[in-house]
Homo-oligomer: 153 residues x 2
DNA sequence: TATTGTTATACTCTATAACTATA
DNA sequence: TATAGTTATAGAGTATAACAATA
């Protein structure tokens, strides 16, 4: 008897549906951010700096699971947009002090509102219990697998 | 009274948790595929060609929501790996006939098994009802928003 | 010697748009 | 002229690794 190939369809995987929805949610958000000339990766960095006095690039990299090189380029762009300042560290000059500029501080709440609105567009129709159940499942998967990085793309 | 900034944390958004998990699921899958020298985007094209006699690049592009230029480059790589053949169309020579090679046909079931295993690693612990509920929510969001493209990254 | 941040290089994915071959 | 496929260009994101400055 010939062996059947048994190739499961893409839609058989829950990961397929999560990626499908997640990518569209992220894309819709990136379009909203683009109106403010900010990318999703830049938003994540801005959000990390919000409410902080000074954070080192390596600290940001560790928090959001990116390399120092990637953070360096992101901070280049954010500094060029005058949203973030780089200052040499006081005690240990290897460490830089990153901080939001006044323009950056002024911008972040508006971007956060875009994030709220984007989430509501896709998930606002869910019953609170449905929403909480899905969040709990995702948190449990993060915990089980020890996932650490913040996804930016 | 001063207005409070009201910057919601990233974790307040369900989209954050979906992207967090989804990106790790995709990344884990991409690592498994890399052992077979295949990317996720290439896998999606291979999967579309599986079980088909001949499909035009523009048809693939329409199905998975990529541009013809992107498909052209992907097919370049798949042809270089001898997994896919390009033949000129019979009746209308503007249309190409893409098809899996014997090597491509032999490879696809193994890749599908990797996809099954990857999904099980992340979602295998869920109760069938939990899994079905999440899939139903995602399908409903896809339906509500008329989402069409297959996510490949 | 170890660590921070920078830079160079490279690769994937994506999109736009100009280009060709065919119809 | 309209469409299919190709190609060039660009940009975002990512990673690795070599590098300079600092400790």
């Amino acid at each position: 008897m010939p062996k059947p190939p048994k190739v499961s369809p893409l839609e058989a995987h829950l990961g397929y549906w999560l990626r499908f929805v997640s990518n569209h949610v992220s894309h819709a958000f990136s379009v909203k951010l683009a109106a403010c000339d900010v990318t999703v990766a830049e938003w994540v960095v801005l959000r990390e700096l919000h409410g902080e006095d000074a954070v080192a690039p390596s600290e940001i990299a560790a928090r959001i699971g990116m390399t120092r090189g990637a953070i360096s380029k992101l901070v280049d762009r954010l500094a060029a947009k005058a949203l973030v300042t780089r200052r040499p560290g006081r005690d240990d000059r290897r460490y830089q002090s990153l901080a939001l500029t006044a323009a950056g501080r002024a911008l972040v709440p508006g971007l956060a509102a875009l994030a709220d609105r984007n989430d509501a567009e896709f998930f606002g129709h869910l019953k609170p219990a449905e929403r909480a159940a899905i969040e709990a499942v995702m948190r449990e998967i993060v915990r089980r697998h020890g996932l650490r990085t913040v996804p930016t793309n």
